[in-house]
């Protein structure tokens, strides 16, 4: 395999992106380090973030053409960098960096940090490949740190059991389905029952892994019982969405369009989006609310992925990034608040505003960034996904709107329950720490910058969506030339 110099650089950067957190995880797990785990973790994740940005930049300089390395098997190559990968790598590295910076000290011992970094590293590796077997292997690897972390948490056994009940069948279905799809590829004209069965098994795996109704119970349970870092690393990357993108999109019409399995999944996802947002309203603890919101937003992504229009797919990718960053922010603020005041109930007004006004401001801004405040990326995402859904089916669009409205009410209610009411603390104030302020500001700035100037991101995602759906790309390389269908 002859590689050009830019491709060499791309590979090196990709290697650093993936290996930096994995190496740091190994170093911490070995017990050789006697320094604070945070220092090593921050250095590794910063390196990973910079390298991932270099990968995105290098890929963009190559005119945004998908780059493949290694043997191609089934649907994709061993290393596959397209618009989705170029966006997801920096996104995941940023989420990981935010987590290790904000994590309270008592949750950041060496084993816990190693598990967090291993989870992030494995996810980054997964985002770099489209090879079906490697995807299966890395999917298994990404589950292990989560399960291990929940299991190690005092009182976490029931949640570990619930997680296992969802993840083991998911991984079995994924493995069997992928093997069947490789034996009888659905993207070829003479596909038979074996390939179709494989597709349905992969769909079942996505259903389980994504926490879609009726197999969603592990999702809020994880947020209630696991450390926030574990919950965020397990759910924010949306590994199941990535599996759906790589294994299910582009299979219908022999490689042109969306698999029927994904369309069925999307109907359940729409119901989940509304259900999660509605239940978020009546949660009595902040963690439960975050779990339900995350479930709802994650389901919205899957609902958008089944779209036949690149606009809908682009909207789904935008929701993926915007909700991920915003919910990471909310989760980190909640974690910082919990480390100061214990768990936060939503049953009565907690009066936490005076105690930590900056955390209140960040919670509010991340909350608004999650529910479609104009000027944030979620406004663009909501616009795309609502317009795309309504273009296809009226009821789908109305369900998306309902989910968005309910999420908004849930977030605002939670803010007033936590920070409103008579002052709860009559003692020294818990000011925000500089490292917390730094991480939260960077996350927030990303959401606002991408929201105020969304065109470059949307163009990249639109192009990736067009490529996945097999829609011809314009001569200038800016997105699909024509929508495939318009009612």
């Amino acid at each position: 395999m002859n590689l050009t110099a830019p491709q060499d650089l791309l590979l090196v950067m990709l290697g650093i992106t993936v290996l930096a957190p994995l190496a740091a995880a190994g170093w911490m797990a070995s017990g050789l380090s006697n320094r604070s785990p945070r220092t090593g973790a921050v250095v590794a994740m910063s390196l990973s973030l910079l390298a991932s940005l270099a990968v995105a930049w290098q890929w963009h300089n190559g005119h945004g053409v998908p780059v493949e390395f290694g043997d191609r098997m089934g649907g994709g190559a061993f290393i596959d960098i397209d618009g989705v990968t170029a966006v997801l790598l920096p996104y995941m590295a940023l989420v990981g960096l935010g987590i290790v910076i904000v994590a309270p000290k008592r949750f950041l011992d060496a084993p816990a940090t190693a598990r967090t970094l291993a989870g992030v590293g494995a996810t980054l590796a997964l985002f770099s490949t489209a090879h079906p077997l490697v995807l299966v292997a890395l999917s298994i690897v990404t589950v292990l740190p989560t399960w291990w972390s929940v299991r190690s948490t005092p009182g976490g056994s029931p949640t570990a059991r619930i997680l296992a009940l969802a993840m083991v069948p998911a991984l079995v279905c994924l493995t069997a389905g992928t093997l069947l799809m490789l034996c009888d590829p659905p993207w070829e004209k003479d596909c038979g029952m074996v390939g179709a069965t494989g597709g349905w098994l992969v769909a079942a795996a996505v259903l389980l892994r994504k926490g879609i109704i009726p197999v969603h119970s592990w999702y809020p349970a994880l947020f209630c019982a696991a450390p926030m870092s574990t919950s965020l690393v397990a759910t924010m990357p949306q590994v199941a969405s990535y599996l759906a993108v790589r294994l299910l999109i582009g299979h219908a019409d022999h490689g042109q369009g969306v698999a029927v399995e994904l369309i069925v999944l999307s109907q359940l996802a729409l119901v989940t989006a509304v259900y999660g947002a509605a239940l978020a309203l009546v949660q009595r603890e902040l963690r439960g609310l975050i779990g339900m919101l995350a479930m709802s937003q994650s389901a919205l992504v899957l609902a958008g992925l089944s779209g036949k229009l690149p606009m809908e797919l682009s909207g789904a990718f935008c929701v993926w990034i915007s909700s991920g960053l915003a919910l990471t922010g909310i989760g980190l603020v909640a974690w910082a608040l919990e480390s100061r005041a214990g768990p936060l109930s939503l049953e009565t007004h907690q009066g936490r505003f005076r105690d930590s006004p900056m955390l209140a401001a960040f919670f509010l801004l991340f909350g608004l960034a999650c529910i479609g405040l104009p000027g944030t990326l979620s406004f663009v995402a909501d616009d795309l996904i609502v317009s795309g859904s309504l273009d296809e089916q009226l009821y789908a669009g109305l369900l998306v709107i309902a989910a968005t409205v309910l999420s908004g009410i849930a977030v605002m209610r939670a803010w007033f329950m936590i920070f409103g009411g008579p002052e709860a603390v009559d003692g020294p104030r818990h000011q925000i720490l500089p490292r917390e302020r730094l991480a939260l500001t960077v996350l927030l700035a990303t959401l606002f910058v991408l929201g105020i100037n969304p065109a470059p991101l949307v163009r990249v995602l639109d192009r990736a969506a067009g490529h996945l759906l097999g829609v011809p790309v314009q001569a200038d390389g800016h997105g699909p030339a024509e929508p495939p269908a318009h009612p």
Binding site: A221, L279, P374, L384
Partner: protein, 483 residues
């Protein structure tokens, strides 16, 4: 008179783009000035270095004043050109396939006078609040939200497309909610803010869906493709059915923001906010935002008689309801809130009857009067107490037509109904909110029981209670302190 009329043909060809550029620049200034103050105050506050009270007030005042001057200059230019609409295209925000989100503004006979009026009012309230909120802990927060409101208001008023209008509308909703809950240590303020936000959010569905319908109907959100001609004599460019659907959705959206029955009970609760924000939001600008949107889309309403009839019914119903309820209120701010609601109802009816210019004049005059009354209310109460102390009792009330002409039984019935606010809140809570809330709580309880069972433990049923394993984590977190 058109400015170009007095020039030669050759000069007019040169001047046309220049005038357009000047108007564009002025319109952008109206929008950018309050937005710049938002950034100027917000960034230091987020970085933990809030500006001084004096500088904050000065900056916000300067932003609104610059916006007002730019608005007046635009008004002069437009009046010289016979108020011909001037479209300002700021570019494409983003585009995907056939979906294009453009940033379009419009300067015409409706938007520019309205922006002058709203910016001027914001500047006055800013000057009042600088003294009124002196040494208030949330001083910077108030002015930040006022700047956000001003930006949102100008964005909504100057919007040339439904996308831009929706963005401004959302800013209004957020700033309004946060100002109602400004005194966060009061439980009632927090509850009132949530109530207002829920109403806004539910009614936003109307505007959001209307926006998507507009995109579906004409391929973009531009008002130019929906209706043509100068306000108030525009012509609808879409079929009557489409116009009716979009109009009904807009009416639904407007009902929430303008506190029309049955979405009205948040308004008296909203008076929990500071007096200056109550004046600008619920006496002047926010309460009329719905009416403004209807005026902006008056050409659509013209083609939708069903929507107009509905508008008249809602407006008259709200006006009667608020007039009756307002008469039995025992606190000044609630009385003023119901008085605002009454006028907003009448304005809705005027719009429904096609009296557009009357409605616009009514909005402006009512806003000025009501904001003055609300700003004056704290000192008016003080004066009243002094008067009562001097007289040694109540100074006595005036005559009442109702008291003189209605039979006692009817008076008692009307009093009871008014005291219960027309049973509106009770009906909404008992028939809609309550059942939905209870259903959701039961589902949540069943969810938790199921989750606990999956975790291998015996379910401990408690309505809406947290799962058992959640409690263990709680106790662990409570045992530890910060690092």
């Amino acid at each position: 008179m058109n400015l170009l009329d007095v020039t030669t043909l050759g000069q007019s060809a040169l001047e046309l783009p220049t005038t357009h550029d000047a108007v564009s620049l002025l319109v952008i200034t109206q929008l950018a000035a309050p937005a710049a103050t938002l950034v100027a105050i917000g960034v230091p506050a987020v970085l933990g270095r809030p500006l001084s009270e004096r500088l904050t007030t000065w900056l916000v005042g300067a932003g609104f004043s610059i916006g007002l001057l730019a608005g007046l200059a635009t008004l002069c230019v437009l009046s010289l050109r016979g108020f011909a609409p001037e479209a300002v295209h700021l570019g494409t925000w983003f585009s995907v396939g056939h979906h294009e989100a453009t940033i379009d503004l419009v300067a015409d006979g409706l938007s520019v006078p309205y922006v002058c009026f709203s910016t001027g009012l914001c500047a006055l309230v800013n000057a009042f609040a600088g003294k009124y909120l002196h040494r208030e802990p949330g001083f910077t927060r108030f002015f930040l939200l006022l700047a956000l409101f001003g930006t949102g208001m100008n964005l909504m008023v100057l919007a040339g497309s439904i996308d831009v209008l929706f963005a401004g509308w959302e800013f209004l909703g957020i700033s309004s909610t946060l100002l109602i809950g400004f005194f966060h240590d009061r439980t009632n303020a927090a509850k009132a803010a949530v109530r207002a936000f829920i109403t806004y959010r539910i009614c936003d569905v109307g505007l959001l869906t209307a926006g998507v319908m507009v995109h579906r109907a004409v391929g973009s959100g531009d008002f130019e493709r929906l209706f043509s001609g100068a306000w108030p004599n525009g012509h609808c460019l879409v079929p009557a059915t489409t116009a009716t659907v979009i109009s009904l959705l807009l009416v639904f959206a407007a009902m929430g923001k303008s506190a029309q029955v049955p979405f009205s009970n948040w308004l008296p609760m909203a008076m929990e906010g500071p007096t200056p924000s109550s004046a600008i939001f619920y006496g002047a600008l926010s309460i009329h935002a719905g009416a403004y949107v209807l005026l902006r889309c008056e050409s659509l309403l013209e083609a939708a008689p069903v929507a107009r009839l509905l508008l008249v019914l809602i407006g008259v119903g709200t006006a009667l309801h608020a007039a009756a309820v307002g008469r039995v209120q025992t606190d000044l701010k609630s009385m003023l809130a119901y008085a605002s609601m009454t006028q907003a109802g009448i304005i809705f009816a005027e719009i429904g009857l096609g009296l557009r210019v009357v409605a616009l004049v009514h909005i402006v005059s009512h806003a000025i009067l009501r904001s003055l009354q609300i700003l004056r209310s704290p000192s008016a109460l003080h004066d009243r107490h002094e008067l009562e102390a001097a007289l040694g009792g109540h100074p006595g009330g005036g005559k009442s037509w109702l008291r003189d002409n209605l039979p006692p039984a009817a008076q008692a019935w009307l009093y009871r109904v008014s005291l219960e606010r027309g049973f509106e809140e009770m009906a909404v809570m008992r028939l809609i909110v309550g059942p939905i809330w209870r259903l959701l709580q039961r589902i949540a309880t069943a969810e938790q029981a199921w989750t606990v069972w999956l975790g291998g433990e015996k379910p401990a049923l408690r309505v809406g209670g947290p799962p058992m394993f959640g409690r263990r984590i709680r106790s662990r977190a409570q045992s530890g302190g910060e690092e």
